[in-house]
């Protein structure tokens, strides 16, 4: 029984990370049709912000780090993507690659290539015993924070005027503009929310690894994209489900792969993703905006 519970906790923890990153990517893709590879650099900025402000009391460190990422995401939209809005997806994609490399190089100039280490919240390294089960506080915080953010985001998207406008813009951006929806505000909000999710993800990631490096955002973004694609790129519930599908897949492989193959877990995981995408190329959730209209 404890093995099963431990498995579920591991899967939920991994799934929460993936869902956070996938949701940030899906939010922007849904509205702009932009696959933003520079999302990984937002995570990197979050990591270095934690490092730079680590002398502050930890709640302040986290708040400032997340605020820095949100601000960076808003600047990214204003300076890099707004001027090319409406360009074809290939131009947007290449621009996001260029921005990603640019930010990595700027990071390298400021912080060098040597990884930094920091201990965000001392509690993250401790664990708690519950009925013979050892659960890391980081897992509890990761699962709890992600659940809270998902609930808040669901309320925002469903109940607020801007949230509803974001959903409309994600389905038919042109029509939303024709209805008078302020495109600048909607897109900036999507980037801001994406930044919030990336910032929280970065803090949790630093809490997990204790290490900050220039390339720290690459793997999370790869998993985030994969999770978003599993769910159906552009679908917000899809991104969350995709994140948890990936998390459970990863935990299952970790649990059942023989010792010799355990090192290749991600290869097996992505083979599974490949098979899934072959059967459902559009992902688990059909996105209205990407479907032919009748």
């Amino acid at each position: 029984m404890t093995t099963i519970i431990q498995f579920v906790i591991d899967a939920l923890t991994a799934g929460s990370y993936y869902a956070l990153f996938a949701l940030g990517i899906a939010l922007i893709f849904g509205i702009m049709q932009l696959v933003n590879f520079a999302h990984g650099e937002l995570i990197m900025i979050g990591g270095y912000a934690v490092y730079v402000f680590s002398d502050m009391p930890w709640p302040l460190t986290i708040a400032v780090a997340v605020a820095v990422v949100v601000l960076s995401a808003l600047l990214m939209e204003r300076l890099a993507f707004r001027p090319i809005r409406g360009a074809n997806p290939a131009t947007l994609l290449i621009s996001s690659f260029a921005l990603s490399f640019l930010l990595q190089n700027v990071g390298q100039m400021i912080f060098t290539t040597l990884p930094k280490s920091t201990d965000v919240v001392p509690l993250f390294t401790r664990s708690v015993d519950v009925g013979g089960l050892t659960i890391g506080w980081l897992s509890i915080v990761t699962i709890g924070t992600t659940a809270l953010l998902l609930c808040l985001l669901a309320v925002f998207m469903g109940r607020t005027e801007t949230g509803v406008q974001m959903r409309a813009a994600a389905e038919d951006f042109e029509m939303a503009e024709l209805c008078g929806v302020r495109s600048n505000r909607v897109i900036a909000t999507a980037f801001g929310l994406g930044g919030l999710l990336a910032g929280v993800g970065a803090v949790l990631l630093v809490g997990q690894t204790g290490s900050i490096s220039i390339g720290m955002g690459l793997t999370p973004v790869l998993f985030g994209f994969t999770a978003a694609a599993i769910g159906g790129l552009g679908s917000l519930p899809g991104a969350v489900v995709g994140g948890y599908v990936l998390g459970f897949g990863s935990a299952l492989l970790q649990q059942f792969l023989p010792d010799g193959a355990a090192g290749y877990r991600d290869a097996f995981l992505f083979a599974g993703v490949f098979a899934l995408m072959a059967f459902r190329p559009g992902g688990l959730f059909r996105v209205a905006a990407l479907s032919p209209r009748v």
Binding site: E161, V164, Q165, R167, A168, E171, D172, E174, M175, A176, E177, L178, C179, G180, V181, R182, S183, A288, R293
Partner: protein, 237 residues
């Protein structure tokens, strides 16, 4: 109210609209007719701000609006009911109607206007909290019209509102246009059903191959004459 002068719209090398001039006076219903590919929809979308690089002049009550983009134009009081409806299928009917009010500055009376639309098209109330994509084509058309009206437009652009609808719903659409005209709303109507369009319109323009070929008042032109005009048999009157 609306003055279009020498409007030119191109899609790459193809000139979809050429030197188009038209006028819609306050309170009028004006029909824009023509065969497929004549440039009617392009004219409407250019007025609504979708072709920022269009040439010429488009003025709404004396203010030049060409090149402003769709959102500022919507905020100036032009609302488009597009061909194919383009309702937000994943949003509820209520949310679709609220999106229609996005351009409004006076938020206080939005709910009252939504209620008025639910009375105009009672079927919308049935689906108020359901995804709009679940409705039939005719119901979606009613929603598309209501969504536009919730914005309290000064000028309503209707693009093929009866296309693909059952006869009873076509009647409903044209009855609604009559009602709106009686309320004093200014309408520019693009419609394939020429005979119905001519019945409700005060004036009409006919386009062919991107150009205006006929301008006529009510009674000056009959639906039977249109086939001849579409085929090139008559020029400006």
């Amino acid at each position: 109210m609306l003055r279009v002068e020498s409007l030119d719209v191109r899609y790459g090398r193809v000139q979809a609209v050429r030197s188009l001039c038209l006028e819609v006076r306050a309170g009028e219903v004006v029909a824009l007719l023509g065969p497929n590919g004549a440039g009617k929809t392009t004219t409407l979308t250019a007025i609504a701000g979708q072709h920022r690089k269009a040439g010429g002049v488009v003025e709404l009550e004396g203010e030049g609006i060409l090149g402003l983009g769709p959102q500022p134009i919507a905020r100036r009081g032009i609302s488009l009911v597009p061909e194919g409806r383009r309702i937000f299928t994943t949003l509820t009917v209520g949310e679709n109607l609220r999106i229609g009010a996005s351009a409004r500055r006076d938020r206080a009376s939005v709910e009252a206007d939504i209620e008025r639309e639910l009375e105009r098209f009672p079927v919308l109330r049935t689906y108020l909290h359901s995804e709009a994509g679940k409705m039939s084509g005719g119901e979606q058309q009613q929603l598309a019209i209501s969504r536009a009206l919730v914005s309290r437009p000064r000028l309503l652009l209707l693009d093929e509102p009866s296309l693909g609808l059952a006869p009873v719903l076509v009647d409903l659409v044209f009855d609604t246009i009559e009602q709106l005209r009686a309320d004093g709303l200014t309408i520019l109507l693009v419609e394939q059903n020429a005979s119905r369009a001519l019945d409700v319109a005060d004036r009409c323009y006919v386009m062919r191959s991107g150009e205006l070929v006929v301008s006529a008042s009510q009674g000056e032109i009959r639906a039977e004459d249109l086939a001849d005009i579409y085929l090139g048999g008559r020029n400006h009157s």
